[in-house]
Symmetry: C2
Subunit: 456 residues, 2 copies
Amino acid sequence: MIKQNATQALRQLLGDRFTTSESDREIHGRSESHFDLMSPAAVAYPTTTDEVQRIVEICARSDVPMVGWGTGTSLEAQTGADDSSLTIDFSQMNKIRHIDPENMLITVDPGITRKEVNEALRDTGLFFSVDPGANASIGGMAATRASGTTTVRYGTMRDAVKALEVVLADGRIIKTGTYAKKTSAGYDLTALMVGSEGTLGLITELTLKLHPIPEAISAGIVAFESFGGAVQSVIEMIQVALPMARMEFVDTATVQAFNAYADRNMPAMPHLLFELHGSEDSVKQDAETFGAICRENGGQDFEWSERTEDRTALWSLRHNGYYAILAARKGARAVVTDICVPISHLADAVEETRADIAASGLMGPILGHVGDGNFHSVLLLDPENKVEHETALALSDRMAQRALAYGGTCTGEHGVGIGKKKFMEAEHGPAWDVMGAIKQALDPHNLMNPGKLVRD
Amino acid sequence: MIKQNATQALRQLLGDRFTTSESDREIHGRSESHFDLMSPAAVAYPTTTDEVQRIVEICARSDVPMVGWGTGTSLEAQTGADDSSLTIDFSQMNKIRHIDPENMLITVDPGITRKEVNEALRDTGLFFSVDPGANASIGGMAATRASGTTTVRYGTMRDAVKALEVVLADGRIIKTGTYAKKTSAGYDLTALMVGSEGTLGLITELTLKLHPIPEAISAGIVAFESFGGAVQSVIEMIQVALPMARMEFVDTATVQAFNAYADRNMPAMPHLLFELHGSEDSVKQDAETFGAICRENGGQDFEWSERTEDRTALWSLRHNGYYAILAARKGARAVVTDICVPISHLADAVEETRADIAASGLMGPILGHVGDGNFHSVLLLDPENKVEHETALALSDRMAQRALAYGGTCTGEHGVGIGKKKFMEAEHGPAWDVMGAIKQALDPHNLMNPGKLVRD
C-alpha cells in the first residue's frame, strides 16, 4: 500500500496516467523469465523529465520505493516490485529529442525502443548498434548494460551511451557525460549509471553513439563438426583482427529447435552465424579469410548472402531463438542462463555445461555470442514441476560458479536483478560492499529499485 | 609534518624505501606544468600490493594524506602534495604480472611504463594501444584516464583497462572487473576508478586489453591550405568509417617549431599527421580514400611511408611537440591547455582560440588529436613575468569556457587535478556534487589525494 497522501499527489499530478488497476499492476509484476508475480501497488506513466522529478519527490516524501519499467523484457527480475512500490513505466516517454549526424549522436527519451531509434535514423546513413534480440527500451538497455549480437564489433551499452540525464533519489536532476568524443573531467558517472539497474536513479534521457551503415554487409551460416572447432575459428579470427560484426554460436539442439520452429532444414550440427561489415572489397577479402579459418577447423559448406532479406531472415531466426527453444517443449517455461568467460576457456565452459545439462535430464539448448565468450542455455521446465525448477536453478548456479572459476562473470548481459545477487559476493568480494556504499551515498533511504543488485 | 608514530611505522615497514630527504621531496613536488612546487613531507617506495595496503593502514591511523606518483608527467598538479602528506611512488612496482595472449590481456604493476609494456609484448604479435606521448606509468595513465594519438581508433584508458586491483582509503583491497570480454554484474567500478586521480584509492594492479599488431601500417603527413579543410577531411573520413589509427593536427606555428627543433623542412602550413592500420590490401584502399578526401578539401602533396624508421621519426616528432614548442622561446615555461569539443565545432573552436591567442601577444602553437575533437595550445611564458602567466591562465580559462559552450569538456585527456577544478561546477552542475558524495562514501576522512578533482 502506498500512503494516501502520496496516492493523492500522484493522481493529481498524472490524472489517468496514475493507476492502481489490477490488470496494470499484474502486467507490471510479470517478467519474461521464471520469477513469480511481483506486482507494484500502482503504476505511473510520466511523459516528461519534469514529471519524473515530481514523482520522485512525492515518493521520497512518503518513502515509496520506485521501480523503473521499459518493456518488461529483463530476465533477472530487475522490474520486480511489491505492494508498497510504485512502478514508473516509461513507455509514454518515447520521443527522439535530437539527431546530430555530424557528431554521430542521437538523444532520446528512455522509453523509446531500439527498433524505433533505428527507424528514426533511416535517412541518415547511421545506425544504433546494440542489439539484444528483444525490442527493448533504450533506458532499460542502459540500466542493465545490455549487449547482444553486434557487441563483438561495436561494444555494449557501456560503449554506446555517451551522456545521460538521471533523476536521483532526492529528485535532483543530473546530466552526466559530454558530447565530445572523450573527457577526463572527473568520475565517469555515465559508466556508473549504465548497469545500475535503476538502483541509483531513473534515467530520463540518453545520448547514444551511432555508427555509419557499412557500404557492404555480408551474412552467412556455417556448420561445424564440433563446437571446439567453431570456437577455435573465432579465436583465430580475433587474433588476426578480422572485423566480425556478428559472430553467434548455436548448438545442435538449438538447430533442431530452429528447424521445427521456422521450417528450416539446417544439418543437425553446431553452427556459427556471422556477419561482416566493411567496404565491398574488404568484406570480400574478410570473407575469404573467414572461410579459410573455418575450413581449417572443421567448418563445412557455407551459406552466404549479401541480400537484405536473407540477412533479415537469418537474424530473425537467431532473435527468435528463445521462442523457438521454448516451443520445443509444450507448455514449458524457461530458466535462461547467461555467463561470460575469457574466450580461451569458452570451449571447456560450454562442454562442461552441456555434460551437466545432459546429466540433469532437462532439455537445455545452448546458444551465444561466441565472439564475446558469452553464452546462454535455455533450460526448459514444466512450471508445475518443482523438482524440475530446482534442477534448472541448480544447473544455472553451477554455470555461474564455472564462469567465476574461469575468471569470467555470472552475467554477461542480463544483469543482476534478484536472480544473480547470490553470486555477487563470490564474483566481487569486498568490491560488492563498495557498490553498497555508493548505493547508500546516492540513495540513503533505499527507495530506488530496492532489493536488486546490492546487498540487502 | 607526519606524526612521529606514523613516520616510525613507515620506516620500520620500508627501511630505505621511506625517505624524508630534501631532494626526494623536491622531485615529488615538481610537475611538468606551470604549478609551483608542492612537496610532500616524505616519500614511500612500495614494491608490493601488501606493502601499499600496510602504508595505507598506517596513514589512515594517523590521518596522513596520501598522494600516488607514477612518473610525474601529469599536467594539472594531480601529484601536488603538502608538508602533511606522504607521496607513494610506484616506480619500484614495475613488473609484468601475467601475459595472456589468447585473451589479449596483460596484467601489470602500476609503476610500469607504457613503453615497457610494449617491450614485454614484443614477441606476442600484440600491442598496448594508449599513447599519450610521455612515457607515463600505466597506473598514472589509468588514474587520469589518459589517451592520445591512437585514441581515434583504439580508445582511451576507459576502453583499455579491463580490471583493477585497488587499495581503498581504509586499507581494503578490492578487485574490479572481470577477464571476460563483457559483464553486467553490477556497478562498473573499473570505470569509476579510471579517471579518479587517486582520490578514491590507489591502483596496485591493472589488467589491460591488447590489440593485434596490424599486418600493414602506413603513416604520413599532408599539408593543408587551411585548418578548416583539414577538419572537414577528418569529419568526412569518420563518416565513411575510414579506420584511421592516428589522426593528428599541427598548426603553422607548431610546424615552424618542429622545423627548428628537429631540423625538418616542412612547409609553413597546417598539417595532418596520420597512420592507417590494416591488411596490406585494406591499407592501400584506405590510403586512396584518404588521399581523395584530403585533395577535395585543399590537401597538398603527401609524404607517405610504410618503413618503420620513417614512422618512428614522424611520431617522435609529434611526441616531442611539447619540447619543440618550449624550445621556441628561450627559458620559457608553458601553460598547456586541453579541451575537447564535438567534432562539428572543432574548426570554430580552434579558429576562435587562435584569434584569442593572437590578440594576447603570447606565443601559443596549437596541436591536437583532431579525430577526437581534442586540441592543445602550448602557451609560452616568461616564468618571471606575472602578467604573462596571468594572461596565459586567462586564455586557458576562456578555452575551457568555449569548450563547454560547444557541448564539450574542459579536459579531453589531462584530467582535473587542481588546475581544472574551477570548471567542474560549470561542466557538471549537480553531478559534481554526486562525485563528491561518492568520494565521501569511499574516503570519509579525505585522505586520498585531497584537494583534487572534487569540491573542497
